[in-house]
Symmetry: C2
Amino acid sequence: MAEDCNSWVVPVTLSPPSLQDNTADADRLAKALKTRLAVDPFDLHIDLETLHRIPELLRKSNYSVRCTLARDRSRWFLTGIHGGAEEGVSVGLAVDLGTTKVVLRAIDLSTGRVFGEKVFDNPQIDVGADILTRVHYAGEGSGLQDLHRQIIEAVNWHAEDLCRGCGLTPEQVLLMAVAGNTTMTHLFLGLTPYWIIREPYIPVVNRPGLLRARDLGIRAASAARVFVFPNIGSYFGGDVIAGILSSGLHEMEQTAVLVDVGTNAEVVLGNRQWLIACAGAAGPALEGGVTQMGTTAGPGVIDRVRIDSETRRFDIHTIDDGSPCGICGSGLIDLAAEMLTAGMIDIRGRFLADSCPGRFVQRDGAQHLVLLPPAETADGPAITISQADFDSLIRSKAAMYTILETIAGSVGINLQEIDRYFVAGTFGAFIRPDSAITIGMLPDLPRERFQVLGNSSLEGATKVLTSPGSLEVIDHIRDRITYLELNVNQDFMLRFSAAKFLPHTDLGRFPSVAARLPPR
Amino acid sequence: MAEDCNSWVVPVTLSPPSLQDNTADADRLAKALKTRLAVDPFDLHIDLETLHRIPELLRKSNYSVRCTLARDRSRWFLTGIHGGAEEGVSVGLAVDLGTTKVVLRAIDLSTGRVFGEKVFDNPQIDVGADILTRVHYAGEGSGLQDLHRQIIEAVNWHAEDLCRGCGLTPEQVLLMAVAGNTTMTHLFLGLTPYWIIREPYIPVVNRPGLLRARDLGIRAASAARVFVFPNIGSYFGGDVIAGILSSGLHEMEQTAVLVDVGTNAEVVLGNRQWLIACAGAAGPALEGGVTQMGTTAGPGVIDRVRIDSETRRFDIHTIDDGSPCGICGSGLIDLAAEMLTAGMIDIRGRFLADSCPGRFVQRDGAQHLVLLPPAETADGPAITISQADFDSLIRSKAAMYTILETIAGSVGINLQEIDRYFVAGTFGAFIRPDSAITIGMLPDLPRERFQVLGNSSLEGATKVLTSPGSLEVIDHIRDRITYLELNVNQDFMLRFSAAKFLPHTDLGRFPSVAARLPPR
């Protein structure tokens, strides 16, 4: 079966034709691959253009060839064929299709070796930083086509740039795997996201499957295919499925949870027996509750903050030690955690201006924390955080905690019974669990239970390129997940309100944090 | 299963989405079709362009739609989707891709009703009337591309013309089924026929399966698919598989034979238990043995000849009663049979000039029969048949009879034990079994055992369009056929020599003919 084959690149040697065995070239190739892969029945599709090249190629290479395959359910696709002794590689491209950033990773499909990576801004940011603006834009005139063209052109441009940098060409790319949220995926496919944001929140497609690169306008080999991760619904996208795949949660004996902290808060709870999922943005009461917190990670972005509780000196770390130019989600969580233990905010997250004179300024009638004065930043203006930013962070963390409580409660377990917490997502990639626990975003449990996954979408997409069996696993994950519609009832709102304190109204739940809090 | 659905057009009504059932549009459609067709697992592929249209279409049509499907093994394809109440038809196009003539038939995929038919010359005739010339031409420079373009453009042009005549447009064509010999199929697909005519005679592909019309350059609906009949080998093409399908031989209780009299002599013997096939041109000793006999059937072409044995008056019939412009295969067989019983040729097929003074002329040192003097023909010159034409006919009929004997002998039965003789093919469409028996091409058996099928390629292609289950049947036929390589050994040549007499050296085999022969 498919799982037996551990690469999409399969070398085969065909028995040459004879008067006694006059099977056609293409059918002979399919037969050899079928035997090699031990797949029966084996349904191989070969594009016409590839078919054209096969007779000469087989004869020139003495019937010894290197085939590159792709698969969609029971149908296999020949994405490339090379003479056995021929030079050159079969390239795979993993794509993390983020709302803000897009990450490309080029790999060798034969060996899994990474050639290189590239990160670039999703060009749709020009239309709107958030998903909602883009969805509305897509509904107007040529908006959808514009957004589709923007992302495809950007992927083409940066993929070519990445390839060139690795001594490759886009025409060597035979397989792509794309993981994104449901809206980004729709825009990538040129499909309307109109109904995604309107009740009852219906995507055009859950399982886009395998597409021809050419049909999408993607520049690659002529028979290249693009695998697009399936979604569970409008608020539970392929990026999270990629995250599950990358975490291995779906094959764990003990119960684990995957927390994807991005624009939404997506949570998956389960083990190899069952999977249950929930997304924060699905509940209207939480709208704006889980928002984009800070800048996306990148050079110069503040990702870690330490405050000396004695001197109240801020020790600020930036990514790649660049000149500071903003703060990302993990930096903001660190900041809030440190300010809480240093007594610079109260348990409701209110700035305590007296605690550190000079750090706080009044601007537009609201209090701001000056993280860095103009002289210490990259592009001039001071980096400040407003009370509103903190309020938003607190709603976000409260939503996350409440969702965790709710999903665990739905299967009758409590948060202590969860053996492993995987933290993933745009926002979760650089998170420090200790800080997230301090502000009460994650439960107060032994720190070894927490595992930060980094870019789990990209890892999941890479897995598709290196492990053919993962396609079946993905379908299996998708088919097994029970989607829990958040019922934002009175009970939920009570729990949400209780979680809006730092770390929580019930301090008994956070003993390790309580021990570090300054006396009230 | 597939056989349960008796049309490619399937109306479905989807349950509308709700918060409790947020399945995406495309997946909801697939689910409804899966239930409707009772196919599990149901792998439906929807082209991106079609996917784009689905959200609006579903909502406008209140989730009641008419889907048109196609299938390739376990994968189904959505070739068209219309609002339930929407006007318009789903059109299918059956194509008999002949070396000389191409026939198109437009049908309603919902009902099977025939809208119309059109016949046109295969434009590749300009390159060469016979297959071999075209294969050589394809090997030079842009030859292959030229031949491919010629046939595709001609099909496009005539399909549009046919559609227009029926009040349709090519964009309404959602499914095509194409049956042709292996070389014509390769040229249609733009695949090199180079290796078809070179030992060990290997096609590029045996089972082209289902292709996108667009990839072939065929003008049709954007998601239209083209089914191309599979071949068994270089000398046993999809046209014969279409013939088997159309005859029903593959499901008969009793043993039957299908004789496809075309450029080659292809023979299939079998029943619902087994099938064995053989093609005349495969044996080098028979090269030129089974050749094109006469003009292809068309208005004005002589298809029947009667000779009054008393007066030796020729009674000549032309197709559509047109002015005589040539003679087709069936006319030639009639002519030979009548001349034999009228004593105008001997049992070796030699003209007996004395038997009918004035009918025979000497030209270029060879004898010719004047069938019609210039005054009675359409375009001036007399219609004459040379001794060489007759010699060629006799080799052809001898080859056919010998192949029949050989294939029957290979399974240990004699020709009397075959219950049904289906006569098909370009050459067989108008054949009169009685005349074919008289010259010893077919065995002397009760006439009701013979059934002339007409254009069985076109009928087979039509069957694919009207009966989804026939695709599985075709694969089943192809997989079951044992191809008998003609072993042209001494034994074969002895039988061939014996069959080169009219009707045969062994007159005892042809009692009904012997009774009518003039005394020697």
